[in-house]
Symmetry: C2
Amino acid sequence: MRAFVVLGHKAPLDPGFTLNDLPGAAGRLDVLCRCVNAALFLSHDLRRDVSVFLVLQDQLTVRIHGAHVKRLNPDERSTAALIKKALLRVQHHEGHDELRSTPGISVARRGLEGVLETLQREGFEPVWLHESAPPLRQAPLPRAPAFVLSDHQDFSAREETQLAAFTRLCVGPKVYPASHCIAVVNNELDVRAHGDQGAGVTLAEGRVK
Amino acid sequence: MRAFVVLGHKAPLDPGFTLNDLPGAAGRLDVLCRCVNAALFLSHDLRRDVSVFLVLQDQLTVRIHGAHVKRLNPDERSTAALIKKALLRVQHHEGHDELRSTPGISVARRGLEGVLETLQREGFEPVWLHESAPPLRQAPLPRAPAFVLSDHQDFSAREETQLAAFTRLCVGPKVYPASHCIAVVNNELDVRAHGDQGAGVTLAEGRVK
């Protein structure tokens, strides 16, 4: 069981955005869509043990449950269309409860604080992916880690305070886009679960392309 | 210096495709666009020491030179638009020479064989990312590796023959999409270059988000 929480600082709260301009008019929603891809996709398969939380401007959270999601495709545009549907679902709803929009996707009027509460209630332990921190590869990891990342912008001062209590780890010696960090983290966890540094995959387990 | 060669088995040869349906009408061009992102982007920066070769149906090759490319953005749609321009550039050209389409992007009527010749002429050593192979993490790597990957489809029998002579390595114990493999390979090379497993990045080198 693992989770990724991506903080979208400019991501839209209103479903009226166009799918033809995700980087501009939709507030870098392309970044969040690539994070969903990196978190959930294997080649021709989905990671059913992963959940993704997209926190939009600290106000709305779209959750994609790997265990239940349907109609999720790898490309940015179709993922953005599912996020648009989630925003439509919550548009005229004022409560803070979680609403199902499409199979395996839910939305709630919650920001990072609400997401951290949800994660801990469900047994996840947040891990903050952060600049000057010990490297992921050498670090002990919780059984059910929930990695928290920022989009193309820095963590805000408020977010830094909210995350200060959690373990901080660093993905690599260069500054990566959030989706690359997620791909590296997933690989690291896969290698650890496999127990032999990724050696000796068999044809029965499939190919790595 | 490193390169990534991605074999696009269904990718368009004709520039007439719509940017609104990259997975369908454009033959999974979304896969290739994500590979370009994974190969070339850092957070708010580009990897100037990386080249990407997109081999389209073993007939045309679009090359993106990290050292020179301009107007490249991280999202799929704008990358597909640059590929469309490259296809327009070569559309009525019958020779096999390399044509510049936009800054840092060129196109040629070459398939995998021509790309392998180009790579070796430029001092690259191809590395085949393949299923049952020794793990990347434990493997010695050439100084200038050119990693060859397939898109969402298997390598063809012809491609397997063309690649048979090269070192084969495996990225992890699960079957990853090509773009995830590229992100993991870039991280592995960064960690090796840094010499300490990615530990102790400083603020001067920037953050990992």
